[in-house]
């Protein structure tokens, strides 16, 4: 487990956020989780007050991103992260209720690392989250420059 990776969770639904966190913890992932309820505050945190992303330069981040946010769509956040020189190497996990093929394709095209459809089948969901935890422990998240 690479402990210095910080998980940034952008999820407007409190229940989903709680379930995600619970299951990540249950899977044995103990990394810090910073949760945001909307896109604006998440972007502020990610890109800093100057919007350049320099504030997170050198930090290992993993972004859990919901696509349906009250103030913007997660696709916009994904696009900005992947276009930013400091953040573009941070893995982004898209979490959404949409299983629309076009949307999935679009997210991968924009540089999403994993696309997870929020299943109502809780076991599958927990499995996905656990695998995500394993994924965290295995991959070498490159340090953002």
């Amino acid at each position: 487990m690479v402990n210095h990776v910080t998980i940034i969770m952008v999820e407007d639904d409190e229940g989903h956020a709680r379930l995600i966190e619970k299951n990540i913890r249950r899977a044995g992932v103990l990394n810090d989780i910073v949760a945001f309820r909307d896109g604006t505050t998440a972007l502020e945190h990610l890109f800093g007050p100057d919007g350049s992303g320099a504030v997170n330069a050198g930090r290992a981040l993993l972004v859990l991103l919901d696509l349906n946010l009250p103030d913007m769509t997660g696709v916009d956040i994904l696009k900005r992260i992947k276009e930013n020189e400091h953040l573009r190497r941070s893995p982004v996990v898209v979490l959404t209720t949409t299983d629309d093929k076009m949307e999935i394709q679009r997210c991968y095209d924009l540089g999403a690392n994993v696309y997870v459809t929020k299943p109502v089948n809780y076991e599958n969901f927990a499995n996905a989250i656990r695998q995500l935890g394993l994924f965290f422990s295995v991959i070498q998240v490159p340090e953002a420059k």
């Binding site: 639904d13 229940g15 989903h16 379930l19 619970k22 349906n68 209720t97 949409t98 629309d100 929020k118 299943p119 109502v120 089948n121 809780y122 076991e123 969901f125 927990a126």
Partner: protein
Amino acid sequence: MITRLPAQGSWITRLGQPALLACGFAILIAISGVAIWLVNQARKDASAVAHTLEVENTVAAIQIYVRRAESAQRGFLLTRNAGYLDLFDASAASLGPALDKLRGLVADNAAQVATVDSLTPLVRRKMGEMERTVSLGRQSQWDAALQVVATDVGEELMRSITQIAEKMKSEEDRLLKQRTASASISAQWLLIVSILGVVAIITLAGISVHLSQRNSRALRQAHAALSVINEDLEKRVEERTADLQEANQEIQTFAYIVSHDLRSPLVNIMGFTRELEELRTDLFHRLETLRLRAGDTDGSQDEALAADFQEAFGFIKASIVKMDRLIKAILDLSRQGRAELQPVPVDMRALMDSITATVAHQLIEREGRIEVGPLPTIVSDRMALEQIFTNLIDNAVKYLRTDVPGRIQISAAETAAYVMFSVADNGRGIDTRDKSRVFELFRRSGPQDRPGDGIGLAHVRTLVRRLGGSVMLDSELGKGTTFKVTLPKTLKLAHQEDE
């Protein structure tokens, strides 16, 4: 905004043209008739004038004959030359026929006949007197002859003859004047009638030109108004179509958002139900520990509680799964309504064959068979067509009766722009009151003894509509059902071009 067509002309305009034509013909016929009559009249007048002149000529000829005979008689008596007698004889011979001719000519005029009748004896007496002197001269009794001449009887007769002849001439002159006047009146009338006719025809032609101009002006106006209405109509159709497409789009978007947003709380419900299950395990574990610590070894009450929990969780989870399935169905439906269509030529026969191949196994189980008739190739979206007919054929197979061998017939009927595909089965049929209901989402007909959520036909209807067609069903309960899908031969993507 409806532009009213201008009234299609007054009755004058409507009846004007034929009435004018009839009028014109009537006037032409009248003019011709009058002209013929007048020309005939003029011809009669002319012949009457000629007749009068001939009468005068004949009267003059009679006078000349008498005078010539007299001068021949005088010459003979004076010169005693018998050569004069030839002229005398010839003149005397001509007189008889001349008198007869005159009588014939004036036969239609009683007064003139009477005059001729009084003239004839005078001429005879004059001729008798002259012949007597001539015959005396021939016998050389010159004195006796001269004596006869000297009696002045001949001269007296000659005066009377001249008098009567003049009377006849003046009578004929009077007639001539009368007839000439009549002829000139006829000619005048002919002229007047002709001028009137020409004026009438010119007037009619003028009215006709005016009317036809008015007609064509009205026609042009009507035409313009019509094209305005047409444009308006086209615009309105376009507007309505756009409205409908927008409304349809809105419904699809609504369905998508609703179903999408409904899934979100469902994730929580399922997730926390699962958490509750975990909690329950912990709770019962703790309960057992506490119970045992209190010295109570009877776990039957705990087991009853656990069973109640289990039952409740069972219902909750089953409902969640069902709700998820239904939401997914709505989502799929809205997605199909939004999916981009790609018109390509599709061999319907091959398409049906590939679908029937997928149900072959079920058919063998049910002792059924599918007959696919000759089907055309249409230009449409292959995926949509596959889904439509897969649903219909699946349904037909699913609801075959168990008491008779199943038989499904697929056929097509073509019109100019459309093809109507029929999928007919001899299955259990659909109740008349469910005819439109079966196309609604989550609605099913008949005994609910087959698996299904009531989604297939809703999809069929959505897809058929997207392909610009319509779907209907004929059915008799217990006899079978025929689905009729009417599709355009060539799918047009007008609404997509607008985007």
